[in-house]
C-alpha cells in the first residue's frame, strides 16, 4: 500500500501536471484555430478595454444583471471558486506537502479555517447539484458531462475532509484524495472544467461584441 502512496504522490503527480499543462496548451491552440476558421471576423473586433470592462463587472458579486437574477447561485459560485483556490494553495497540509517534498514554503490557513472552507466548497457543490435537478431550465440542458465535471471537482474535497477527520483508513483515504486531485488536474482541459481555461476568452468575446458592435453593456 505504501508503494501505491509513493507512486501517486510522486510520478503520478508529475504525469497529472504534465497532462494538464500540455493538454491546456493543445486545447487553447486548437480552440483559437477553430475560432479563426469559423468566425474569423470576430477576432478583428476583439478589444482589450471592452474585454477588461466586462471581466471586471462579472468578477463583482451581484455586479451584473446575470448575478442578480439568481442570488443563491451567485453566492454559491463565488464561495466555491474562492474557497477552492484557498484550499488548493493555502491549506496547511498542502503547504507542508510542498515543504517536505521541495523545501519551499508559504503562508497557510489554520487547520480549522481550512476545514470550514472545505465544507463550504462541498456545500456549494450540493447547491450546484440541487440546482441542476430542481430548476427546469437548468435540468433541460444538463448532460452526463456536467455531472461528471461536478463529481470530478467534489471528490478531492470529500476525500480530503474524510482524510483530515481520519474517517476510514488514513493511508487509503489519503491515496484516494491524491488520486482524485490528480484526476481533476489532468482532466481540466478535456471536460466542462475547461471553463477554467476559456472563461476569460468567452467573457472577452462577449464584452468586445457588446461594447464594440452592439454598443450596449453586457452586465
Amino acid at each position: 500500500m505504501i508503494e501505491i502512496y509513493t507512486f501517486v504522490s510522486g510520478p503520478l503527480a508529475w504525469i497529472a501536471w504534465s497532462v494538464f499543462v500540455f493538454g491546456s496548451i493543445y486545447r487553447l491552440v486548437s480552440m483559437y484555430n477553430l475560432a479563426k476558421a469559423k468566425d474569423g471576423s470576430s477576432l478583428a473586433y476583439m478589444s482589450l478595454p471592452y474585454s477588461l470592462r466586462s471581466i471586471f463587472h462579472w468578477l463583482v458579486p451581484f455586479g451584473t444583471l446575470g448575478w442578480k437574477s439568481d442570488p443563491l447561485m451567485t453566492i454559491a459560485t463565488f464561495a466555491f471558486h474562492i474557497c477552492f483556490f484557498l484550499v488548493a494553495i493555502f491549506l496547511g497540509a498542502h503547504v507542508v506537502f510542498w515543504d517536505t517534498a521541495f523545501g519551499i514554503s508559504w503562508w497557510s490557513l489554520s487547520d480549522t479555517t481550512g476545514d470550514i472552507i472545505s465544507f463550504v466548497v462541498i456545500g456549494a457543490c450540493v447547491v450546484f447539484a440541487v440546482r441542476r435537478l430542481a430548476l427546469p431550465h437548468v435540468r433541460n440542458v444538463t448532460r452526463a458531462k456536467d455531472w461528471f465535471a461536478l463529481l470530478l471537482v467534489a471528490m478531492p474535497f470529500v476525500t480530503g475532509v474524510l482524510a483530515y477527520h481520519q474517517i476510514g483508513p488514513s493511508l487509503l483515504m489519503t491515496i484516494l484524495h491524491i488520486l482524485s486531485g490528480e484526476l481533476l488536474i489532468a482532466l481540466i482541459p478535456f471536460t466542462r472544467l475547461s471553463h477554467a481555461l476559456f472563461a476569460v476568452f468567452t467573457r472577452s468575446y462577449m464584452g468586445s461584441e457588446f461594447g464594440g458592435v452592439r454598443r450596449v453593456r453586457d452586465w
Partner: protein
C-alpha cells in the same frame, strides 16, 4: 555466628545492588522515556503531537546504529552520516524559524520519518497516520 550472618546479609545486598546496576544501567541510559516527538518548540500545534516510542520503534525497525537518525553535520552544514549527534536535540541544529539556511525543524522531522518510511515501505507516511486525533 552473628558475624557470619551479617556478612552473608551484606554480601547478598551487594550482589543484588551489583545486579541492579548491571541490568538497569542500559535502561537508564536508553530512551525508554521517549514516547512523543518533542514539539514544544512549535508553540501552538495545528495537529496532535506525534507518538514515538524510541526503543520500541528501533527494536521493530531493527535499528542499532544511532547515526541513522541522529545524523551529524559537516563543516559545510550538510548531513553527516559518519558523526552521530545523539544526546543533542534536533532543534539545536534545526531551528523552527532558521536564519542561516538550516533545514527548519518541521521539515527535518517530516523528511526524517517519511523518507525512511517510504524507502523501506514500512511505517506511517500520511498526515493522519502520525498526527492521530
Amino acid at each position: 555466628m552473628q558475624k557470619t550472618h551479617i556478612r552473608q546479609t551484606l554480601a547478598f545486598i551487594a550482589v543484588v545492588a551489583a545486579l541492579l546496576v548491571v541490568y538497569l544501567a542500559p535502561a537508564a541510559l536508553s530512551q525508554d522515556d521517549m514516547t512523543m516527538v518533542p514539539a514544544d518548540a512549535f508553540g501552538v500545534l495545528q495537529r496532535p503531537q506525534v507518538a514515538f516510542e524510541h526503543d520500541a520503534h528501533n527494536e521493530k525497525a531493527m535499528l542499532d546504529d544511532c547515526v541513522v537518525c541522529h545524523h551529524g553535520r559537516t563543516d559545510d552544514g550538510l548531513m553527516d552520516m559518519e558523526y552521530s549527534s545523539e544526546g543533542e536535540t534536533c532543534e539545536s541544529c534545526h531551528p523552527v524559524n532558521p536564519e542561516n539556511g538550516e533545514t527548519p525543524l518541521m521539515r527535518a522531522y517530516h523528511r526524517q520519518c517519511i523518507t525512511c518510511h517510504t524507502d523501506e515501505a514500512m511505517g506511517p507516511v500520511t498526515c493522519g497516520e502520525c498526527h492521530r486525533k
